[in-house]
Amino acid sequence: MARGMVIIGAGECGGRAALALRELGYDGPVTLVGDEPHLPYERPPLSKDAMVSEAPEIKAIASDAILAEKSIRHIHSVQAVAIDRTAHAVRLSDGSVLPYDKLLLATGSTPRKLPMPGLGRRCVYLRTFTDALAIRAHLTAGNRIAIIGGGFIGLELAAAARKLGAAVTVIEAQSRILMRGVPAEIARIIHDAHVAEGVDILCGDGIASIADDGNEVRITLADGQEISADLAVIGIGAMPVTGLAAEAGLTIDNGIAVDAELRSSDPDIFAAGDCCSFPLTVYGGRRVRLEAWRNAQEQGALAARNMLGAGEAHAAVPWFWSDQYGLSLQIAGLSDEGRSTVRRDLEGGAFILFHLAEDGRLVAASGIGPGNAVARDIRLAEMLIGKRAKPAPEALGSQAVKLKSLLAA
């Protein structure tokens, strides 16, 4: 009898992988192990809708009924503590042992901890639904919220907190917000939107000290400025969860190192989503690790296919979005691959920056605008990037030329 497929991590990636195994017709045992008490759920709403709703609800990827119907065994509230690669078995924190034919590590990432003394119970991180509920309780009119880190999680949270009338200060040590992966021209628009909504953004100054007495957090910046808050939310990036893999002797390289088919250094163990680094075919095999919802979803599905022997290489173009106030940002590709940019203006103040490599190849596109104004063109750009197209810069910059026409060329 088949030992079956075991998936460690019941988030977007693990959940999708389990469903995909069944969609592909696999009929052996499928076990999904998660350390949270919830059904597999979507995390993007945690910093967005869940923060402004009166009673935030889990957006489940699969209900109990679906999991039962598909014979997916979901073991929640436990951790995988060790992998015995020789015996092909995983030991769990409740003492049980799960044998596997193929193992998928979809362990995700965890918030990077602020390496400072003085943090107490009013200094928190956002990763799980439970974290979101705890933060949500503090987002009330007049409450003072300090957000440490001007990245996406912090900024989305700032927008939600303002909607609920909280007083918000964002503290970013770099010279501007969204330093990583977002062009300055677009970061400026997001910055201005926050300021217009009443958010205080402090850039370019590190934190000298934090004092949290359990009722209030006092943050002192390097220049002496003091910020007092009822809650400090720390959003300074994420680290891949690799402890289990490292203990088992798998190769780690900014995440669990996998090949283009998402296979780790052990051929029967795969890794996918935030926890793995993989060669990105579209950029000549450059090794990257992505912390993105769509990547988690796509890699979960790809891992499922390859666990069943498809031998399919990852070929997707990275894609990411963020919503703040009425603005939506979308980025396809990795903009740091670009050497020059071409701007295309769309209706309603929306625009897209196309990033071109030295040889003229389109390597990324970053767009911002109201609602979903940039979505269609970013999607077309993503296809052009995937095709390694070298569209004429004049065509990219002209609203009169339809991007779809460039795809056919």
């Binding site: 999708r16 979903n372 077309l380």
Partner: protein, 104 residues
């Protein structure tokens, strides 16, 4: 009494494209296929209530602008994660250069 509603003129939508149509407090998406036929579906994605008319039409697929949920707009069939609920479709006819949909 006919329940056919005029949505737009045929020339309002390019081939292989989509347009939003609001009527009676509801929202719809009207499509023109690459082979010049017209179709209509509910206007909002079944995943997170996003207007599909902002999405991209490729052949007989409409892709949600937000999370890339895909549907066959001719049949309403959901085509994989994150969408799992099919899209409702509506009968369409073209009459004297007008696109009409039957809202049931």
């Amino acid at each position: 009494m006919s329940d056919w509603v005029e949505a737009c003129a045929t020339g309002d939508i390019d081939e292989e494209d989509v347009m939003r149509f609001d009527h009676g407090g509801r929202t719809f998406a009207i499509y023109r296929s690459p082979d010049d036929e017209f179709f209509a579906t509910d206007g909002l994605c079944t995943h997170e209530k996003v207007h599909l008319a902002d999405g991209l039409v490729m052949d007989d697929i409409i892709e949600c602008p937000k999370h890339n949920g895909r549907f066959n707009y001719k049949t309403g069939d959901a085509r994989g994660a994150p969408v799992c609920v099919n899209l409702k479709t509506y009968p369409v006819k073209v009459d004297a250069g007008k696109v009409l949909i039957r809202i049931g």
